[in-house]
Amino acid sequence: MNELKSGVSESMELGTLRRIIVRAKRWDLFFVVLGILSLMIGVLTFAVLFADMASKGLPRLNWEFFTSFPSRRAANAGILSAWVGTILVMLVTAVAAIPLGVAAGVYLEEYAPKNWITDVIEINVSNLAGVPSIVYGLLALGLFVYQFGFGQSILSAGLTLALLILPVVIVATREAIRSIPQSVREGSYACGATTWQTVRDHILPYSSPGILTGIIIGMARAIGETAPIITIGALTFIAFLPPQPYVGDPPAGLFDWLFAPFTVMPIQMFNWTSRPEAAFAENAAAAGFVLVFMTLLMNGLAIYLRYRLRKNIKW
């Protein structure tokens, strides 16, 4: 009798258990579907936009499109000054933002004493990441263009975008450094290494995949920025390239291109979309396609580098 009872309750319990499991699995499935849907909203929107842009713009994508200057005739217009401008501006941005951002991040994590000043700086850095880009444009107009006398040049634009992405790079650097186990530092110090030796040989190599991700996110944001670049005076029609070092008569200096007037891809695109002639919309689509492709290329490079660097991390 006793045995029977326990058998019944056992089978009942088994039934309840099964029901609980089925219910839990249903929730599991529900969440998977929800997750995929959320993912698809983003991915599909992008895919549709990209496909639309590609179908409109691809007929325009030929060699001439990359080697021609802007023109009032849609069929002759190209993106030469725009893509060269974008690449040069991004170069200045990278050269300025990466060393500054990484150094600032390392200092805040490894060297800075934990006191209220550091706290204030930390809060400000995080807040700066959310400041609208136009504010950076206005700051740069006063500071770089007029105060420092850099003019409406590639240098001003690159430094403006560097300021814009500096908080992103700093925050990413700090996150990456924080993910390194404390024991790595302790081991290094125990061997008698100085802070700089620890940073150089352990902290930076181990955190570089994370730092790189931050840098690329920042650069991807910078490449599409229009507002601050327009504020500091990027041009719309420019049918010549910055001077190449040591070329021309008289030969241009090594850094003359930094002070050249310029335009960038998003501005060229925007100008074409606001034209009355429908043919310019095709140009805009083609330019958009190239811009997205440039961003993807940059991201691809980052993923590859991250993969390479991760392989070297052993802890």
Partner: protein
């Protein structure tokens, strides 16, 4: 030694900075300003560079008429594109900086009032009817077509127009409502005229206004409305002819370039402006603006040679100007 490595490139960069700015200054014609004038100046710049075999470089930016004047009066650009005459405040800024300028009308801009293709009841509009729709008092109250004219159906009006920063908005409000920037606020505003084209073409009850070039390129999607100065006066459709002979009023206006007198001493700037006036008639038409009468360009050329400084407007914009009268006026700076 290590420190030196850092210092050397910095010094190099700075020293080349100064040589660079000098090197650019003497081969460059810098232009900035209105987006309305931009297509014309861009076309001229393109042809000019071609004609000079790229020996002279021209850059054109878009920072709005106000932005262009600011840069002109700071001496940052040689020429300002302007869709309206210079204002008193801007004249003062120029005076304070010691910058003198020559005002040259280069083309007409005709604002076109457009409606949906399916709209059959609007045959023409008077200025008074447009005012009834657009004046600030209409906000929230005039929402149906029959409120403007009882003969029209009981259908909602959907209004489209340029944003408040635009020179087109300034001129339209001044010409229609009587005071610049005085407009109802509850309409769909966009700085991108293609958005306005889309809006009007999708809504049967829509009415909008923008530059004639956008109408010409979208004739298959929209209908232009003939405008009458008053009830009983003839209604005129905007076209190259009606704008040029001055019958399309009050929605057509001359647009300008302002050339800095100091920059004009540079041969490349002088060459560019002369090229501009010589080729304007052809290029203006090509970018779907209305050229001035041939005589006007000749007179403008004379003003250039005689260095007729200043503005003929005295710091205020005006409505319903004839270009001949304009060029006869005495300029003040």
């Amino acid at each position: 030694m290590r420190k030196l490595k850092l210092v050397v490139p910095a010094v190099l960069a700075l020293s080349s900075a100064f040589t660079a700015s000098v090197a650019f200054a003497d081969t460059l014609v810098k232009i900035d300003g209105s987006s309305t004038v931009y297509p014309i100046t861009e076309a001229v710049a393109e042809e000019f560079q071609l004609a000079k075999k790229n020996a002279i470089k021209v850059t054109v930016g878009i920072s709005g008429t106000g932005g262009g004047f600011k840069k002109l009066c700071r001496g940052e650009v040689d020429i300002a594109n302007a869709s309206r005459p210079i204002l008193a405040k801007e004249m003062e800024a120029c005076k304070a900086a010691g910058i003198k300028y020559i005002e040259l009308p280069v083309a007409y801009d005709a604002m076109t009032v457009v409606i949906n293709l399916k709209n059959k009841f609007i045959k023409q509009l008077t200025v008074a009817e447009l005012k009834k729709m657009w004046e600030p008092a209409a906000q929230g109250t005039v929402t149906k077509w029959n409120q403007v004219n009882p003969a029209w159906p009981d259908q909602p009006i959907k209004l489209f127009g340029p944003g408040a920063d635009s020179g087109t908005f300034d001129y339209f409000t001044e010409a229609i409502v009587g005071k610049a920037k005085s407009s109802r606020g509850d309409f769909t505003a966009s700085e991108d005229d293609n958005v306005l084209v889309q809006g009007v073409s999708r809504d049967v009850g829509a009415l909008g206004y923008f530059g004639m070039a956008y109408y010409i390129e979208n004739k298959d999607k929209l209908k232009a409305v003939p405008i009458a100065m008053a009830e009983g006066k003839p209604a005129v459709l905007p076209s190259f002819e009606t704008v040029e002979n001055g019958t399309y009023q009050p929605l057509s206006r001359p647009i300008f370039i302002y050339v800095s007198a100091k920059a004009l001493e540079k041969p490349e700037v002088k060459g560019f402006v002369e090229f501009y006036l010589k080729n304007a008639a052809k290029l203006v038409k090509e970018v779907k603006y209305v050229p001035l009468p041939a005589k006007a360009y000749t007179i403008a050329q004379q003003h250039l040679t005689n260095k007729k400084l200043g503005t003929v407007f005295g710091g205020e914009s005006e409505v319903g100007l004839k270009i001949e009268d304009l060029l006869k006026r005495e300029a003040k700076d």
